[in-house]
Symmetry: C2
Subunit: 342 residues, 2 copies
């Protein structure tokens, strides 16, 4: 027999989430899916969040304005994309020679990070929740080997915004090229190098076929944090239970994304190397020059941007203390393990 159609009166809350990422980045885009799924499960489907890939509702980089204006209730993005609005956005994600993944989470959750960033975001009608981290990224694909700092001079490289400022001061030529066009530009030689994320994401785009030299570490992205940006009015309108549910679902996505990258990168790296990719550590003079120029930029920003001065002071103190501690137990353990035949 057929069951009778019973329609329950129920209050359903619906939000739209605008991601800055394509569905093909299952790791990063996937974090928004995980978040929405958990909110649905915890509320028995009474709080539904539809997840939209970058470009579906608005351009990928339109999400800050959209949340600010309330066009969507929530976005999932990498804050450093918006460093052109204010460099402080980058501090909520990654700056060259910044915090690593665990340190960033510690700054956010137990340091002053979340407090300071939320103060800053108030001007954009945003309340943020950490929503994933990629871990330390790779330093990109190069058509020719980079043997010393001299090889950076005049080098055209596809590289994300804030890091491009550093590369420029090192004599390089940063290029803004959408993800989908990088392969062709590398193949043609329109650019000499390109960075994307790490083995798992990079492999899918096939850069290894046109630029076999793969460098590490990605000094500009030691632990980029993704954020959920929620319109403050939308958040304030939630009942206390839903507020807590949003916070906790974000924590699940935060854990899940880093775990996905950690679990998926090793196999991808193995396949890349088997396919002819050559791994190189950046020469010391390249790292040193990048570090010097980065610190010079941060000092300059301190005298130009009051927001930066305030947040960076706390961030850099935290970074100093973290690196003091991590060099002992953490690095001592990891070093040893990495040198064993396992």
């Amino acid at each position: 027999g057929s069951a009778p159609a019973i329609v329950h009166a129920q209050t359903t809350l619906r939000w739209r989430l605008a991601s800055s990422f394509p569905k093909s980045l299952d790791t990063i885009f996937g974090a928004a899916d995980v978040f929405a799924k958990k909110v649905g499960e915890m509320t028995g489907g009474k709080f539904q969040i539809s997840v939209h890939a970058g470009g579906e509702l608005m351009p990928p980089f339109g999400v800050v304005d959209a949340v600010k204006e309330g066009t969507v209730e929530i976005a999932h993005t990498a804050p450093y994309y918006f460093h052109g609005k204010d460099e402080v956005f980058a501090l909520g994600c990654a700056i060259p020679f910044g915090l690593n993944s665990r340190q960033m989470t510690a700054w956010m959750v137990e340091g002053n990070g979340l407090k300071l960033m939320r103060e800053f975001y108030r001007g954009y009608n945003i309340i943020n929740f950490p929503g994933g981290n990629t871990g330390a990224q790779m330093g990109g694909w190069y058509r020719k080997e980079v043997k010393s700092l001299a090889d950076i001079k005049g080098m055209k490289m596809r590289i994300g915004g804030f890091a491009g400022r550093v590369l420029e001061r090192m004599g390089g030529v940063p290029q803004n090229i959408p993800g989908g066009e990088i392969y062709q530009s590398l193949e043609k030689g329109t650019i000499d190098a390109a960075e994307w994320v790490g083995p798992y994401d990079d492999q899918k785009l096939g850069f290894n076929k046109v630029a076999p030299n793969y460098y590490y570490p990605g000094w500009w992205e030691g632990g980029p944090q993704l954020d959920f940006y929620i319109n403050t009015k939308s958040f304030d309108a939630l009942n206390p239970e839903y507020k807590a549910i949003v916070e906790c679902a974000a924590a699940v996505a935060h854990v899940d994304m880093q775990a996905k990258y950690d679990a998926k990168n090793p196999g991808a790296l193995r396949e890349l190397v088997k396919g002819g990719t050559k791994l190189f550590r950046f020469p010391k003079d390249v790292m040193d020059a990048a570090f010097k120029e980065s610190m010079a930029i941060y000092a300059e920003l301190g005298s130009k941007n009051a927001n930066w001065k305030k947040v960076y002071e706390d961030y850099s103190n935290f970074r100093r203390e973290q690196n003091l501690w991590f060099r002992f137990a953490e690095a001592g353990f990891d070093d040893f393990m990495q040198s064993q035949k396992l």
Copy 2:
């Protein structure tokens, strides 16, 4: 005027959580508090979990039996305490030369860790949820310097269970001493050395005053995971919303505990060193001997314990791949940062 007393009819679910830890360990004990608080917030107080310190309802190491028998619905503990029941418990927490904190989470969440451990725990009527990690611990406090493996021979050391087996094969004499008695034993010279956790927790117990030599890394605890153990009947009786809420609250506790350790250890280490604590890396022959004996134990267990064979095979494959990958971007970034003046 006084408000009228209105009694709402409401269904309140109450659980008791037995922690294996004293309240003085605010980091570890605190994770259970965070968990219970979030469950309360997400359910508007309708699902209440009271948190009980070790010894309050039962001895600290009685929690597995208590959850198994349903005496309490939930516990928060370090699974390796129960390696005497079955060595597989240790794989869900930490084994000497095991996974680090991030790798452990990746194995749990994206590898086969949670799946395999839950299969194993079914025999104890337990379903587990990761609930924190301390990160790599320090290698303990020594009255005299450890200059080579020869200094381990005959050395009486307070050290946790599984690691004690390794120490014994290296010629050391492992001692089981409750946390509250370690200081006195070290002071009197009844023992030569003792390990506890890391700078933040160790400082509170004052070991530095009686054993100034502080070694790293704690090779037996590269990333110990804490777990929430839930009685399977109690968990199965929850509605789907509460099941998801329990899972997500555990994720918050998981993030929060590692962040607390990362944020609090650096300041404690700084104070300890200021107070005269001397930091030493374990000599290479000590590390090599410990590694060799650990691997020998794991091989022996493989032929004795079918559970171990199954779970360790997956764990050790994952560990090999993780260390392959972490040596590049992660270690390359951390190395450089740790060698800078920040």
